[in-house]
C-alpha cells in the first residue's frame, strides 16, 4: 500500500504539488492522470523518497519513507521517468546489480533474475549487453530491475513513453499479472486510453492538486457520462474555472 497524505512541494515561488492525498491499495492498479507539468513526477518522487516534501508524508506499507527510508524502499520497486541502463553491462548484470544493492544474496538474485526473465519474455537477450536494445527490450530490463527484490509495491513514472503499440500491450499484460499477484501498482500517465484500459482507480491531478479520486466508472458517471477522456477534460476545465 502506498499512501500520500497532504503532500506539499514548492520550487522557489512555484507550488508544484499542493495538499495531495490519496491511497494506492494492494491488488489494484492506481493511475495518476494529469496533463504535462501537473506535478505527477514531483508527487511520485516524494513517494519514493528522492524529493523531500515541504510538508505532509509518504508511507509505503505504513512505513514513513523519510523516517525509515531503507525499510520503506526495500518494499518498493521504482521505474523512474528516465529508466536508463548501463550499456556496457548485460541485461542480467544490470538486473543483478540492483539486486546486490538491495542486499540480496548473489544466488538468490540469480534465481530471481531467471524467473523474471522467463515471465517478462527476456530469455532471448538476457545475457546480451544492453547497448543497441530496442525501447521495448529496455523497458523490460528496467522493470525486471525494479522487481528484482520482489517488492509488494511498484511505482512507474510514465512507463509507456516511447513504446510502440506491441510493447505497450505487453507492458499492460505484465502489469495485470503483477496485480494478480496482489501487488500495489501506482503509475502515472497523460494518456487516457492507457489509464482507462488498466486502472482500478484513477487520481486526476491538475496544477498540483487532486481534482478527482475514484474508479474510472464513477468518474465518468460523476461527469455526466461519455468517455473517460471527456470526463477528464471536464474535470480539468472545472478546475481552471472554464466549466
Amino acid at each position: 500500500m502506498i499512501e500520500a497524505s497532504a503532500l506539499n512541494k514548492s520550487f522557489g515561488a512555484v507550488a508544484a504539488v499542493a495538499e495531495v492525498s490519496f491511497v494506492a491499495r494492494d491488488g489494484q492498479i492506481t493511475g495518476l492522470l494529469g496533463p504535462n507539468g501537473a506535478g505527477k513526477s514531483t508527487c511520485l518522487r516524494m513517494l519514493y523518497g528522492v524529493l523531500r516534501p515541504d510538508s505532509g508524508s509518504a508511507r509505503i506499507d505504513g512505513i514513513d519513507i523519510l523516517g525509515e527510508t531503507s525499510t520503506a524502499r526495500s518494499r518498493l520497486g521504482v521505474l523512474p521517468h528516465a529508466a536508463g541502463l548501463y550499456n556496457n553491462l548485460s541485461a542480467r548484470e544490470n538486473i543483478e546489480y540492483f539486486g546486490a544493492l538491495q542486499s540480496m544474496k548473489r544466488k538468490t538474485a540469480r534465481t530471481r533474475t531467471d524467473l523474471l526473465s522467463r515471465s517478462l519474455g527476456m530469455d532471448a537477450f538476457i545475457e546480451r549487453r544492453v547497448k543497441g536494445f530496442s525501447q521495448g527490450q529496455r523497458i523490460k530490463v528496467a522493470l525486471a530491475r525494479a522487481l528484482i527484490h520482489d517488492p509488494g509495491n511498484l511505482i512507474l513514472d510514465e512507463p509507456t513513453n516511447g513504446l510502440d503499440v506491441m510493447a505497450i500491450r505487453s507492458l499492460r499484460s505484465m502489469l495485470q499479472d503483477l496485480r494478480a499477484q496482489g501487488r500495489c501498482i501506482l503509475f502515472s500517465s497523460h494518456v487516457m486510453q492507457e489509464v482507462a484500459a488498466l486502472c482500478d482507480r484513477v487520481v486526476i491531478i491538475g496544477e498540483g492538486r487532486v481534482l478527482a479520486d475514484d474508479t474510472p466508472q464513477a468518474i465518468r458517471e460523476a461527469c455526466g457520462g461519455g468517455t473517460l477522456e471527456e470526463a477528464f477534460l471536464r474535470v480539468l476545465g472545472n478546475a481552471a474555472g472554464l466549466g
Partner: protein
Amino acid sequence: MGPLLCVFQKEFRENLRDRRTLFSALLFGPLFGPLLFGAMVSRMLNQSVIESDEPLHLSICGPEHAPGLVSYLESQGVRVRFVALPPGGARAAVRSGAEQVILIIPAEYPARFAAAVPAPVLLVADSSDSQTRKIADRVRMLLGAYGSGIAQLRLQVRGVSPLLVMPLTINDFDVATPAGRAVMILGFMTYFVLFAVLMGGLYLAIDSTAGERERGSLEALLSLPVARGNLVGGKILATCAYMCLSLTLSLTAFVCIFHFVPLERLGMSANLGVGTALAFFAICLPFVPLGAALMTFVASFTRSYREAQTYLAAVLLVPTLPIAFASIYSLKTKSSLMFIPSLSQHLLMTSILKDEPVAALDIFVSAGSSALLALILMVLTARHWRRETMLG
C-alpha cells in the same frame, strides 16, 4: 558483499569494457609522458654528440685578406670553404638557408691589423636557428682564442709580460652530481607521473557521475535503499583503482625507457630503478584518492559528459601549477611545502632522483595532507549527492 564494494565492482567491470576509459587509463595517460620523454632525451643526446664530435664547416668571404687567421682556423680542424659573394649577398645567403654561417674579412683588415688597431671581421648567422647559433658560437670562441694569442705576441714584442693583462684566473668547480644534472631534464618527469595518475581516473569519474545522469540511470540508483555515501565511496574507489593501474604502468614505462636511454653519455645518471619506482608509487599513492575525489566532486555538478570533460580538463592542469611555480622559483624540498599536494609529491620525487636524503616526516606530512584533503572532498561529494538537486 556490502553496497560500497558492490558499486566498486560494477564500476570497475563496466569500465573495463569501455574503450574510452581503457584508452585514457591504460594507454594514453601512462605512456604519453614516458614516450615523449624518451624521444626528447635521445634528441638531446644526438645534439650533444653533434656539438662535440662533428667537424665545423665555415664559409669565408675574402680569405686573401687574412691568411694568418685562415690557417689558424684550419689548424683547429675547421673545414674552411672560400666563397665570393657580392656586398649584401652574404646576408641573403644566410637568410635563405643556402649558407649556415659566413665569416667576412673586409678589405681594410690587413692595413688595420698591421697598424695594431682593431681589425673588423663580420660574422653572419641566424640566431633564431639553434643549429647555426651553435656553429656561430664555436666560430666566435675560435676567433677570440686567435685574438688573445695575437695580443700576447704583441705584448711580448714590446717587452711587456702578457700576465699583466690577466689579473684573474677563473677556476670553475661544478659540484653538481651526475644525478643532480639529470634532474634538469627529469624535473618534469614527475609531472608526467601525476598526469598519468589523473588521466587514469578521468573517464571513470565522468562516467560514474555525469554519465550516470546523462544515461538516465541515476534516479533509479538514488531510489535504492543504499546510503548515498556508499554510492559515492564505491565510485571513488573504482576511480582510484584505475588511477593506481595507470600509475603502475606509467612508472614501469619510465623504468623501461631509462633502461634504454644512455643518460651516462650526457654526464648524468638516472637514479630510476625498480626501487625508485616503488618509492615513487608510495609517494604518489596518497595523491590518488585526492585526485579521484576532486574529479568526482567536480563531475558531480555537471549535467552531461561534455560539460564534465570541459571542467575536468581544467582539473588536469591543477597539479601543473605548483610544479611550474617550483621550477620558476627553483624551490627546494622544505617541510613547509609538504602541505601542498602535487607540489610535495613533485619535490619528494625530485629529491629521490637527486639521491638526496628524504626526511620521514616530510613523507608523512605530504601523505597526510593529501589524504586529509581527499577525505574532505569525499565528504563534500557525498553531501552533494544527498541533495535533491542531484536529480537534475
